[in-house]
Each structure stands twice: as structure tokens, then as C-alpha cells.
């Protein structure tokens, strides 16, 4: 297995941008459910679907642009100062997105509060800059950032949707239940974030374990 893997990776680093760079972030290397990165915004701003979507899009924006700039400058940045430079680039795009959200919707800016500025310290973004963008071409880095960003947004929506449905009885502000429904307030409080994340991780790990088990039996059969 390991022997057959090796040449594939070498070819992978030479080939042109492919859809795989995009798709891997959605599921196989999902930043939240598989890599468990960026837990601060995952837990803090997913108390409603709209907040989760806005946070996901803001993070995707920063991720794609910082990946692009890091990749474009990768031969220009000496390795001794790379982390400082990456943080500078990431902080710039976070400031940009902060102003853009204020210009689009003050209410959204108020709802996300300090967590927009905290995108700077989201280890997902620095992680992709260091692990991927600094070693890959511009096109592949953009696709990687886009895939990871969409995967991150998908994960935030998974949490935000469940928490809003149970905690407020609505989804994206539309009431789902008759007036008698008593919302589970705990779900929109911080503890609800941990409960929901735990259940999603449980589901993902179950799926992974099942797939692994099936792969082993499939190989044995072959």
C-alpha cells in the first residue's frame, strides 16, 4: 500500500491544478471534522445559521487570498521570517474583510463581533499557508484555499443549523415549529456548541471507521 502511494504523491506535486485540490477540503481532509482546526470560531459563532454562513464566507475569503499571496511570494520569502510574513498577510486580509462586512451589513458585523478579528489566529489559515501554499503553485494554492474554505463553511453550517433549529426553533430566521415550541436555550449557549460538535465528530468518525473496515475487507477480497 505504502509503496504504491509514493510515486503518486511525487506526480501530484508536479501536475497542474486539479479538482482534487478543491475536493479534498470538503470531506476527506475537512478542516473541522477531520483536522479539527479553528475550533474558536466553530464553537463561538455557530449559534445561528446566518452567523455560521457569514463566518464561513469571511474565513474562505481570507483563506483564498492569503493562500494566493503566500504562494505568489513563496520564492521571495526566506524561511526564517516566513511565519511573520504569513501572519502579516493574513492580518491584512482579515482587516480588509472586517471593513467589507461593515460596509455590507452593520448588523452582521455586530453579530460576529470580535470573532472577525480573531480569524487572524485561526490556525486553519496559517496551517494552509505553511503546509500548502508555501510549497505549491498559485493555481493549486487557490483551489486548496477554496476547498478548505468551503469545507469549513459546510462544517460551520452543520453546527449552526442544528443549534439554531433546536435553540431558537428556526433556520436562517424562519420559524420552523408552531408557537408552542419551547426552544432548548442551552443549544445557543457555549455548552450547546460543544454538544453539537461532539455529535458531528462522532458521526464523522463512525463513517470513517466504517469506510476503513470496508476498505480492509475489500482488499482482502481482492
Amino acid at each position: 500500500m505504502a509503496v504504491s502511494d509514493k510515486p503518486v504523491t511525487i506526480i501530484a506535486s508536479d501536475r497542474a491544478p486539479s479538482t482534487d485540490e478543491f475536493i479534498k477540503g470538503l470531506w476527506r481532509e475537512n478542516p473541522v471534522f477531520v483536522q479539527v482546526l479553528g475550533m474558536c470560531p466553530v464553537l463561538a459563532v455557530t449559534n445561528s445559521g446566518a452567523n455560521a454562513l457569514a463566518m464561513g464566507l469571511a474565513t474562505t475569503f481570507v483563506l483564498v487570498l492569503s493562500n494566493a499571496l503566500v504562494s505568489a511570494l513563496r520564492s521571495f520569502i526566506p524561511k526564517q521570517v516566513r511565519i511573520a510574513t504569513f501572519i502579516l498577510i493574513i492580518a491584512t486580509f482579515v482587516t480588509v474583510v472586517d471593513y467589507l462586512i461593515q460596509a455590507v451589513s452593520l448588523d452582521m458585523h455586530r453579530a460576529l463581533g470580535a470573532f472577525i478579528s480573531l480569524i487572524v489566529v485561526n490556525c486553519l489559515i496559517l496551517g494552509r499557508a505553511e503546509a500548502f501554499a508555501s510549497k505549491n503553485t498559485l493555481g493549486r494554492s487557490i483551489l486548496d484555499g477554496l476547498g478548505m474554505g468551503v469545507g469549513f463553511t459546510f462544517a460551520l453550517l452543520c453546527l449552526g443549523g442544528v443549534r439554531e433549529i433546536l435553540g431558537s426553533g428556526s433556520l436562517f430566521g424562519f420559524a420552523l415549529f408552531p408557537a408552542g415550541f419551547q426552544p432548548w436555550i442551552v443549544m445557543i449557549l457555549p455548552s450547546g456548541g460543544f454538544f453539537t460538535l461532539a455529535l458531528w465528530l462522532l458521526l464523522f468518525n463512525r463513517l470513517k471507521a466504517r469506510k476503513a473496515a470496508r476498505g480492509v475487507t475489500g482488499e482482502a477480497a481482492a
Binding site: P78, Q80, T85, I89, T95, L100, Q102, S168, I188, L189
Partner: protein
């Protein structure tokens, strides 16, 4: 000439110029980018903030279609507000379609359960009452403290909250006070919210302090404010 020892240590250190070039270069590009976005979005953000304030003024003064902002001058007279005035010391007179003064929207703030709560409330000198209240900013607990923003029964307290002046004109006849939910008996009392005691008391306290300061000052100025509407109702 460098000594051999210095040369040796210099050779083991990485060259400084590429690092310097990378940090300064990237810093310059990033700085330019931020300034560009700031300049482009700045006017839009200011416009959004003004629109949000305008909407809040119309919300707390039902029927208002135009407004003008004033700030207190040193001798307790009003002058039109200009950019840079303290927003907490600026009030907004609201006028109906005929240019008649409907009331004055007044900002207030105070400590809630989590953080400072900022509100805007409408004061009607004709009715000597608070006629509307809106929470502008709060970080109260979702599902509990944030009921101060949405709970219809709580917001109904501010449709006709009595803030009449005492006979001397210097203080309120009855200060605004918060009572337990359902225990309201007088028009100057606010029915609190069960489960949001601290947040609803915070609103009451803000109103108590703010009305005690503003009502004795604004009540005598209502004619001046009414004229302000006739001249510039726009």
C-alpha cells in the same frame, strides 16, 4: 577587515537582506491594501451607521418621517449637532409629515450582565412620556438577557412610560423604576422580565438616570425644537 572569527559567524548566519526585503516589501504591500480598502469602504460605513441611527430614531418615535440632531451647549440651550459631537450627548428631534415635533430620541447606555448596553428611547414632551425604546447594542446572554431586545411584553412598557416633571421643573415627579414581572401598577413603572432580571433592571436604571438628566432640560426647550422642525424639516 573582519577578523576570521567574525567572518565565520557571519557565514553561518543567513543573509539579512532577503529577510529585510521580504518583511518590508510585504509590509508595504499590505499597508497599501488596507489603506485602499479603508478609503473605499469608509464612506459606505459612515452612511450605514447614519441610516441605522435614522431607522432607530423613527422606530422609537412612531410616526416620525424626518429628524434633526441637536447637542446641549454649555448654558443648557440646544445647538445643531455637527460631526465630532459626543453621540451620547446628541439628541434627535423627530417630526411628522406636517413638520410637527413628535418627540426627541435620546441615547443612553449602562452596564448590563455581560457588557455595556446602548439604547435609544423616544421622549414626547407633549405626552410627558417615553413612547418607544430600542436596544442598539448589547451582548446579553442569548435566550435570556437578550429578551430586552425582542420580548413584546417588555417592549410594551415603553409605549407610554410616565416621566412627568415635578412641580419645581427640576426633577421627575416619579423616577422610573423596575418592578417584578406582572407587578406594574403605576405608569412610571417597568415590568421586568423573569429570567432576565439583571438585563431588564439595567434598562430601567439607564432610563432612570437618562430621563432625570434630559427631561428637565428638554421639556422647556420643546418650542425651540418645534421651530427647528418647521425651518429644516428634511
Amino acid at each position: 577587515m573582519m577578523s576570521p572569527a567574525a567572518q565565520q559567524s557571519g557565514a553561518s548566519r543567513p543573509p539579512a537582506w532577503p529577510m529585510y526585503r521580504a518583511l518590508v516589501g510585504v509590509g508595504l504591500v499590505c499597508g497599501l491594501l488596507i489603506v485602499t480598502v479603508f478609503v473605499l469602504t469608509g464612506p459606505v460605513i459612515v452612511r450605514n451607521e447614519a441610516a441605522a441611527l435614522q431607522a432607530a430614531v423613527f422606530q422609537v418615535l412612531p410616526g416620525a418621517v424626518s429628524s434633526r440632531s441637536f447637542t446641549l451647549a454649555g448654558d443648557d440651550s440646544l445647538r445643531p449637532a455637527v460631526d465630532g459631537d459626543d453621540p451620547q450627548a446628541t439628541v434627535h428631534a423627530g417630526y411628522d409629515a406636517m413638520g410637527e415635533l413628535l418627540g426627541i430620541a435620546i441615547p443612553a447606555q449602562g452596564m448590563g450582565y455581560q457588557d455595556v448596553i446602548r439604547i435609544l428611547y423616544g421622549y414626547s414632551p407633549q405626552r410627558e412620556a417615553v413612547v418607544g425604546m430600542q436596544v442598539l447594542a448589547s451582548k446579553e446572554t442569548p435566550g435570556l438577557g437578550d429578551k430586552i431586545e425582542k420580548d413584546p411584553a417588555f417592549l410594551a412598557n415603553f409605549r407610554a412610560l410616565d416621566v412627568a416633571l415635578a412641580a419645581d421643573g427640576q426633577s421627575l415627579a416619579q423616577p422610573v423604576s423596575v418592578v417584578k414581572s406582572g407587578a406594574k401598577t403605576s405608569p412610571w413603572q417597568i415590568d421586568g422580565i423573569t429570567g432576565a432580571t439583571i438585563s431588564s433592571k439595567a434598562i430601567g436604571n439607564m432610563l432612570w438616570h437618562s430621563t432625570a438628566y434630559w427631561v428637565p432640560r428638554l421639556y422647556p426647550l420643546q418650542r425651540e425644537l418645534a421651530r427647528g422642525g418647521g425651518e429644516h424639516g428634511g
